[in-house]
């Protein structure tokens, strides 16, 4: 029994030990559990403290989405309060965001957390709010998911701002892309962004441009300057610079630009980006260049009157300013039907400004010869396709040919060739046409001027000649007065002495002969006097403007002239006082009256002088009842040395003097006459 007892005791002991052990284990476990519980308690407390102390909304929901815990902020945010109502998050998901929400939830289950969930929710009062949620799962002791917790942030405002920013970005991009300026954003001078305008301008795509260095796109000419300016920008000396650069397009062509570069700096003030605005100024520049060329030409034409001088100016100015390779001006030789090169620029001209291998092109030959015939300017894009092309010093691929036309006639050609195809533009053509017009105007003016100068010098010469001949005439008259009159006087004296010395031997016939001789002398003397008076009518040296009383003049004439008794001189005392040179007026009336006296054949002679006042003239008439003048002679009698009476004392000068005096006073004379009855002279004198 003892053994049994012992065995039992032992078993009991074992059992007891095992129990103790289990109890111990259990105790341990319980204490562990207690510890965990305690810890959990602490943790929950911590959570609670945390909940209450965070401003952000905090929710805990079960796996079905039912919110089991939420803080004050969450209540505020969602408008739901779990202490008063059920709140399931699934119900508040914004329709469009549902899929995203579900996916996000799946991800949360899978990964245990999901950061930065951003979606819209409906609040209790149907407001849509943007929320950002950072969530994680809560597990039980067995690691089973019991809940999910999330910190919810209201990002509605921020989202709104974000939308605005997006819009603004879009707007900005629209501006940038639609800008007529090329815009390039570069970092360390490497392109990182370009706009449409720049891509169009330079003919590269955005991708092609990406990473390209700015310099690789532009001509070397401005590189040094741009490097210098960029260095200054890096040194913070400048924030902005601009320069003229020529850019090379993908297709090999180029354009001139004005590039403005602005620095974009970081907070430390270091250059982060370079923003460049590129304006294509080639058209503007071209237009200005053309205008300048035209202006310069106009200026250089001043004072140049012949086509050779002008041609050299054209060739030089055009070629030089428009960067043409050459320019040749041709002159049309109408007689030889040739075009002659008269001026040039480039290969055609040597250092001495002479044309090398001067070319003579027949009218109609080649492009130049054709233009000379048609008078129509031509722009040849590709001379290799034009059969008319004539090789001068070398073959060039494009050509521009413009005629210079004066009075619808081609007088010259302006011609330029270029080694590349398509070099010449419509603008060049327009410019050259303008130049040709300019030349035409200048040459027309020049020839007009030449003609005028010639005419003027001719006039001057004529005037000089006239003056000279007037003076010669006066001098001649002077000489005549002495040299012709003196011998007459000597002859008369000699006759007298002869007559005195031989008085006793001379018979009546001899005496009559001597009388006739003396008469001839008197005629001669009268003729000389007449010529002298005639020649002095226009002598300005003795032309006075004075008041002339016609009555007084006639009274004086009466005393000078021998008026036979049977002739009556009739004039009214009402005759006017006119403004003229008295001597001339006296000569005028004296000649007319003595003429009348000479031809009165009636027993009772009548000479009547009358006057009528017209608006601008005095109209006088001198009538007689003499023999009259046949109409055939009405013109002839005013011509010098024309006399109708061969035997009398008439010299044929009197009426010439009359006419000349009347013409001096811008008047005219005519006569009415009836043969046998008398004559009336009418004459007008300008007041």
């Amino acid at each position: 029994m003892k053994d049994k007892i012992q065995a039992l005791e032992l078993a009991l002991q074992n059992e007891k030990r095992a129990r103790e052990k289990a109890e111990e284990l259990l105790l341990n476990r319980t204490s562990e559990l207690l510890e965990v519980r305690e810890a959990l308690k602490v943790k929950t407390n911590e959570y609670n403290i945390f909940f209450e102390n965070i401003l952000d909304s905090f929710i805990v929901m079960d796996t079905m989405g039912n919110v089991i815990k939420m803080n004050e902020a969450a209540v505020k945010l969602f408008g739901y309060d779990i202490e008063k109502e059920k709140f399931n998050v699934v119900n508040i998901i914004y329709k469009e965001d549902f899929e995203y929400a579900m996916n996000s939830f799946a991800k949360l289950i899978e990964d245990g957390s999901f950061p930065n969930y951003e979606a819209r929710v409906y609040t209790k009062n149907k407001e849509v709010k943007w929320v950002q949620i950072n969530s994680s799962l809560i597990y039980d002791e067995e690691g089973k998911i019991i809940a999910a917790q999330g910190i919810v942030r209201d990002i509605t405002e921020a989202k709104k701002n974000e939308v605005n920013f997006e819009e603004q970005r879009e707007q900005l991009e629209a501006i940038v892309d639609n800008s007529t300026f090329g815009i390039v954003l570069a970092q360390d001078r490497k392109i990182i962004k370009t706009n449409n305008a720049f891509q169009k301008l330079i003919k590269y795509t955005e991708e092609e441009l990406l990473g390209k260095s700015v310099e690789s796109l532009s001509f070397e000419d401005a590189h040094e300057e741009s490097k210098k300016l960029y260095a200054q920008m890096l040194n913070r000396e400048i924030d902005h610079y601009s320069l003229k650069e020529r850019y090379l397009r993908k297709d090999g062509t180029s354009f001139l630009s004005k590039t403005s570069v602005t620095s974009v700096r970081n907070q430390q003030g270091e250059v982060k980006y370079q923003l460049a605005f590129i304006e294509d100024i080639s058209t503007k520049y071209k237009r200005r260049l053309m205008l300048n060329t035209l202006n310069n030409l106009t200026r250089s034409f001043i004072g140049k009157l012949n086509i050779h001088d002008i041609a050299w100016e054209i060739a030089n100015v055009i070629a030089h300013e428009l960067e043409f390779e050459d320019c040749v001006v041709y002159l049309v030789n109408k007689e030889k039907k040739l075009l002659e090169q008269i001026a040039g620029y480039g290969a055609k001209v040597n250092a001495k400004k002479e044309i090398v291998n001067k070319l003579y092109i027949p009218l109609g030959k080649g492009i130049v010869g054709n233009v000379a015939l048609t008078g129509k300017a031509e722009l040849i894009r590709d001379t290799s396709k034009d059969v008319r092309y004539v090789v001068d010093d070398k073959r060039r691929l494009s050509e521009i040919t413009v005629p210079i036309i004066i009075n619808k006639e081609v007088v010259g050609i302006i011609d330029s060739e270029h080694s590349s195809k398509d070099f010449f533009t419509q603008e060049h053509l327009r410019l050259l046409r303008n130049v040709a017009n300019l030349v035409s105007i200048q040459l027309t003016n020049a020839s007009n001027l030449e003609r005028r100068i010639a005419a003027e010098s001719e006039n001057e010469e004529l005037l000089e000649n006239l003056k000279r001949s007037n003076k010669e005439l006066r001098d001649f008259a002077h000489i005549v007065s002495h040299d012709l009159k003196s011998p007459l006087r000597s002859i008369n004296a000699l006759i007298s002495w002869f007559q005195e010395d031989y008085e006793h031997v001379l018979d009546d016939d001899a005496i009559e002969t001597f009388d006739k001789l003396n008469n001839k002398l008197e005629q001669m003397d009268a003729l000389i006097d007449g010529i002298l008076r005639y020649s002095s009518v226009n002598d300005q040296n003795i032309l006075n403007v004075q008041k002339v009383d016609i009555v007084e003049v006639l009274d004086e004439i009466k005393t000078i002239l021998y008026v036979p008794e049977h002739i009556q001189l009739i004039y009214s005392k009402d005759l006017p006082i006119i403004k003229a040179d008295k001597t001339r007026i006296k000569q005028l009336f004296q000649n007319l009256i003595s003429n009348a006296i000479n031809y009165i054949d009636k027993e009772a002679g009548r000479i009547e002088i009358k006057c009528r006042e017209l608006k601008h003239y005095w109209k006088f008439s001198v009538s007689d009842n003499g023999v009259g003048i046949a109409e055939a002679y009405h013109d002839k009698i005013f011509k010098i040395f024309q006399t109708l009476d061969k035997k009398g004392k008439s010299t044929g000068i009197g009426l010439s003097i009359v006419k000349k005096i009347i013409e001096l006073y811008k008047g005219e004379i005519h006569l009415e006459s009836e043969e046998g009855k008398g004559t009336t002279f009418f004459f007008k004198l300008k007041k």
């Binding site: 006066r474 008259a477 002077h478 000489i479 007065s481 002495h482 040299d483 009159k485 003196s486 007459l488 006087r489 000597s490 008369n492 004296a493 000699l494 006759i495 007298s496 002495w497 003396n518 002398l521 008197e522 003397d525 006097d529 002298l532 002095s536 002598d539 040296n541 003795i542």
Partner: protein, 137 residues
């Protein structure tokens, strides 16, 4: 007043000289006549100052020194300028007359065509100067 005047007659045409001399003779004058063929000769006579004329008669158109040139010289001399100078010419040219009077002349006689008219004119001139007082040096 002088009964006998002395005339300096400046004339290149010998017939004219004869006319003058014959006229005086015919008129019964016994005045002294100094003759010069042109202005130069006349000046030479005057510059001698041995015998200065009372009146000078001169033609305008003469070879070498013509009448107007002679008059200019004459009028520049402080003594000789007071001798009355009378132009005797065929020229009725206005310019000539004007120039002559500007330089200072005592008369301007136009030679008439007829010898008899000439004598009449000479008579009047001589008569006139005979009743004039002239400055004697």
């Amino acid at each position: 007043m002088k009964e006998n005047l002395s005339f300096l007659f400046i004339e290149d045409d010998e017939i004219e000289v004869m006319k003058f001399k014959k006229s005086l003779k015919k008129l019964g004058f016994t005045h002294r006549i100094l003759e010069a063929k042109n202005g130069e000769e006349a000046l030479a006579i005057l510059e001698k100052k041995e015998e200065l004329p009372d009146v000078i008669l001169l033609d305008l158109n003469m070879p070498k020194m013509n009448g107007l040139e002679f008059l200019k010289e004459l009028k520049e001399d402080s003594h000789l300028r007071y001798i009355p100078a009378i132009i005797v010419t065929t020229s009725n040219n206005h310019q000539d007359m004007l120039e002559s009077y500007k330089l200072g002349i005592a008369g301007y006689i136009i030679k008439p065509l007829r010898y008899e008219d000439y004598i009449k004119k000479i008579q009047r001139v001589v008569d006139y100067w005979m009743v004039n007082e002239v400055i004697n040096f």
